[in-house]
């Protein structure tokens, strides 16, 4: 029997480790810049792209495939990431190994990340700038390309700052002005003076907006001014605005340290950038941030609620059938499917509470809902409700474990019941409370289904925290890593292209849950040591 359960435990552990291994390997491998293979095909191969015999790409997978019996059972095929989605219409190509006539790794091939259409793989031909055309074989081409891409990135940053921050602030202010006018009208307190005052400020804002918009348009035009000319491995020459290039490298030239550097910079970009192109490119920063903030909000909500409930149940309520029923109900709450909580959250928090808040505090914005629609606060509260039983149960256990002697000593010293709870019972229960929180976070951070009903979106234009007053925007919709995985893996138009991102995002979600839990556990150990008891 021991052997049997030991074996099952071993198998379970092995499966978990294997799964983690697969996720880690696949999640990290997309950041590793592998070499680009150029393949010459035999005549008549179905893998040929647009009739060309040559194609090039990163080898992503080598697999067996079954073929008809007369050809000899199985054959191996390579999956190449060929990029250039704008030219080919796809990003991946399967090539039978038997179709390959020649393999080479040409030095001159470049891999560039673009604003649109994913990666570009090809040979640089020339740069057409306002100052004239510079051929790829001329001496100053390398330096010029680097400078052009750098300038393009700087300009893109500038455009973004103008459009997002500066124009965003103006729009926000305009919205506020319009709303206050509307509010005054609704309240019947509008005066002619006020109206002209607002109109004047709006005109001034509009003027500033136009200046900024003009500046952004000029910068955009500049982005399109220079052209990068390149030749596809298939032989066709194409050109794209040089400003669309985000970064580039020569995958067959860089050495090991270059690769490692690239690897880490890619990881950093993944962490810090916003997603592009239906989330299949770019980073996942908003999703990390959204998950993190949502989990924190959930913790902030769940701990006081759970602790107060546990104190009431354990210390104040009269132990009897009613309390026992409540306790059973609480325990069963933990078993309710999470989607049910989502529906409840939508009905109660979003429509009822949110709707009431809107009609009470933001009537001037109606019919556009402010709190009456999914948002990070409602998502956090819904998850808090879902995870509160865990906190209640572990807090109750911790409270019950506080020694009778310490309670009596406190009461004998003239402390009231509440003082005893506050000063003796709760501090000693903190490790237990944190255990509950850890379990709650572990469940809450990975939960997706209920969130889809109460505020998670595929792409949130703004973060829940920013520099516009009041800085924390609890009503905003947000992105979440779990939902991101679902969206990438099952909702994206090119699931093959999104697959590496799915792995990377999964790895990240696991890592985030581990980090949150580990920090809570560390905190608990620290507190435990503080209240460590010694042998008598």
């Amino acid at each position: 029997m021991v052997w049997f359960s030991g074996m099952w435990l071993g198998i379970g552990l092995l499966m978990i480790v294997t799964l983690l291994g697969v996720i880690v390997k696949n999640g990290l491998s997309i950041f590793w810049p592998s070499r680009v293979m150029e393949v010459e095909l035999v005549e008549g191969s179905p893998a040929a792209i647009q009739g060309a015999k040559v194609l090039a790409g990163e080898v992503r997978k080598i697999q067996e495939k079954s073929v008809q019996a007369e050809k000899g059972g199985t054959a191996r095929e390579k999956q190449l990431f060929v990029g250039n989605r704008d030219a080919f219409g796809f990003g991946f190509r399967y090539v039978d190994e038997s179709d390959i006539a020649k393999i080479s790794y040409p030095e001159g091939i470049v891999l560039a990340e673009r604003v649109e259409y994913g990666d570009l793989i090809g040979y640089p031909v020339s740069l057409k700038l306002a100052t004239g055309e510079v051929k790829a074989d001329s001496a100053d081409f390398t330096a010029l390309l680097e400078q052009t891409v750098g300038a393009g990135n700087a300009r893109r940053g500038e455009i973004e700052s103008i459009e997002k921050d500066q124009i965003g602030k103006i729009n926000h202010r305009m919205g506020v002005l319009r709303l206050s006018q509307r509010k005054a009208e609704l309240d019947g307190k509008i005066t002619e003076d006020y109206r002209t005052e607002i109109a004047a400020e709006l005109a001034e804002l509009q003027r500033r907006y136009e200046i900024l918009a003009g500046k952004a348009a000029a910068l955009r035009a500049e982005q399109k001014a220079g052209l990068f000319v390149y030749r596809l491995p298939t032989g066709i020459e194409r050109e794209i605005p040089a400003g669309d290039l985000m970064q580039y490298y020569y995958p067959n030239q860089i050495g090991f340290f270059g690769r490692v550097g690239h690897f880490f910079s890619e990881i950093w970009h993944f962490f810090s950038r916003e997603p592009r192109e239906a989330n299949t490119e770019g980073g996942v920063f908003p999703a990390i941030f959204g998950t993190f903030v949502m989990t924190l909000l959930m913790s902030v909500a769940v701990v006081p609620f759970g602790v107060i409930a546990a104190i009431y149940l354990r210390e104040y309520s009269k132990q009897g059938p009613l309390v026992r029923a409540v306790r059973i109900a609480v325990n069963n709450l933990a078993g309710v499917p999470s989607i049910v909580f989502g529906v409840f959250g939508l009905g109660f928090f979003v429509y009822f509470v949110g709707g009431s808040i809107d009609s009470l505090f933001f009537p001037e914005r109606l019919p556009t809902p402010t709190y009456g629609t999914g948002g990070i606060l409602w998502a956090a509260l819904t998850l808090a409700l879902m995870t509160v039983p865990v906190v209640i149960v572990s807090t109750e256990e911790a409270i019950a474990a506080v020694s009778r002697g310490a309670r009596e000593a406190s009461l004998a010293a003239g402390a009231s019941k509440w003082q005893t709870i506050q000063r003796i019972v709760l501090p000693a229960s903190v490790p237990g409370i944190i255990t509950g929180l850890v379990l709650a976070m572990a469940r809450g951070a990975g939960e997706v289904a209920p969130l889809m009903l109460v505020g998670v979106v595929k792409l949130a234009p703004t973060l829940p925290l920013d520099t516009v007053a009041p800085f924390i925007h609890l009503e905003r919709k947000f992105m979440h890593l779990g939902f991101h995985i679902y969206d990438l893996g099952f909702q994206s138009p090119d699931s093959e292209a999104a697959k590496p991102m799915v792995f990377a995002t999964t790895l990240l979600l696991i890592a985030l849950v581990v980090v949150l839990n580990a920090s809570a556990i560390l905190l608990r150990e620290k507190l435990r040591r503080r209240y460590a008891s010694s042998a008598f």
Binding site: S403, G405, A406, R407, E408, A409, S410, L411, A412, A413, G414, A415, S416, Q419, R423, I424, P427, A428, R530, Y531, A532, S533, S534, F536
Partner: protein, 286 residues
């Protein structure tokens, strides 16, 4: 317990009688500082459950500025009676009582009485030492903290005075901020004594305070009790006859939930009126 206690004098009776004389002298010479503060127990019976009566019709007076010792075999109800004086038994479900107990003339079971204010006037040292999982310092000042005292100087002074009183100061003065749970069993017990006297209660209830202490610490605690009775009324439960004889002015002997005999310690030990008392004392000592 007796075996760890030194018996320097070969004649067991000579030492107690000597001590009692000196105790009586101190009691007589100390001028009463406050109005007399009695605990009066009248016909008091106590049940833990309706079926189990553990105290039967007890009537006694505990005089002010004296040390009263409760002695008796294990399970006879000493702790139960002691814990009634500050209503610690309220925590137990299903208890009931008959008769009255008054402290300083006030009925402690009066529904209008604030239990907290009663407990503030009564310090208690429990049979099992029960320090809080807090620092040594916070343990001592606990009763002041819950009473709202914030002044650091006052607290510091109280800590030093109380720990010195409990003969613990020298051992812990350099680690006041460390957890009290790191102390030895005997040190914990003395810490609990320091905690009980910190807020200068009028009455100090001690339930076998020396059971975990070595002879030196025991002597220090006894010294403390002699000191304390100048200001406080002390009730001490002890299984150590010599201790009862040395430090108490009055001794009450309990047996199976009944008060068998209560009188001046000198009389109880030298000339008990009841045969049970004599048996118990001589049995223990002989």
């Amino acid at each position: 317990m007796e075996d760890i206690h030194p018996a320097p004098n070969l004649d067991p009776m000579s030492q107690p009688s000597h001590s009692v004389t000196s105790a009586a002298e101190t009691g007589a010479s100390a001028a009463p500082i406050r109005k007399k503060d009695y605990i009066q127990v009248r016909d008091f019976s106590f049940n833990y459950t309706p079926a189990v009566r553990v105290l039967h019709g007890i009537t006694m007076d505990v005089p002010e500025n004296e040390v009263t010792a409760f002695i008796g075999p294990s399970g006879c109800g000493k702790t139960t009676l002691l814990r009634n004086f500050n209503r610690m038994n309220d925590l137990i479900d299903g208890i009931s009582h008959e008769g009255t107990i008054t402290v300083n003339g006030q009925d402690i079971f009066d529904p209008n009485l604030e239990v907290i204010s009663l407990r503030k006037r009564i310090g208690m040292v429990f049979q099992k030492s029960n320090p809080f999982p807090k620092s040594i310092y916070e343990n001592v000042v606990y009763s002041l903290r819950v009473a709202g005292q914030r002044n650091k100087e006052v607290l510091d002074e109280v800590v030093e005075r109380s720990l010195k009183g409990a003969a613990l100061w020298e051992e812990v003065k350099d680690r006041l901020q460390q957890s009290a749970l790191g102390l030895s069993g005997g040190q914990m017990q003395r810490l609990c004594i320091a905690r009980a006297i910190a807020n200068q209660p009028h009455i100090l209830l001690m339930d076998e305070p020396c059971s975990a202490l070595d002879p030196i610490a025991t002597a220090k605690v006894e010294e403390l009790i002699m000191e304390l009775k100048k200001q406080f009324t002390v009730v001490i439960v002890t299984h150590n006859m010599q201790q009862a004889a040395r430090i108490s002015d009055r001794t009450a002997y309990f047996y199976l939930g009944r008060l068998i005999e209560m009188d001046q310690t000198l009389k109880i030990f030298n000339n008990p009126q009841k045969k049970e008392t004599e048996d118990y004392i001589s049995g223990r000592l002989g």
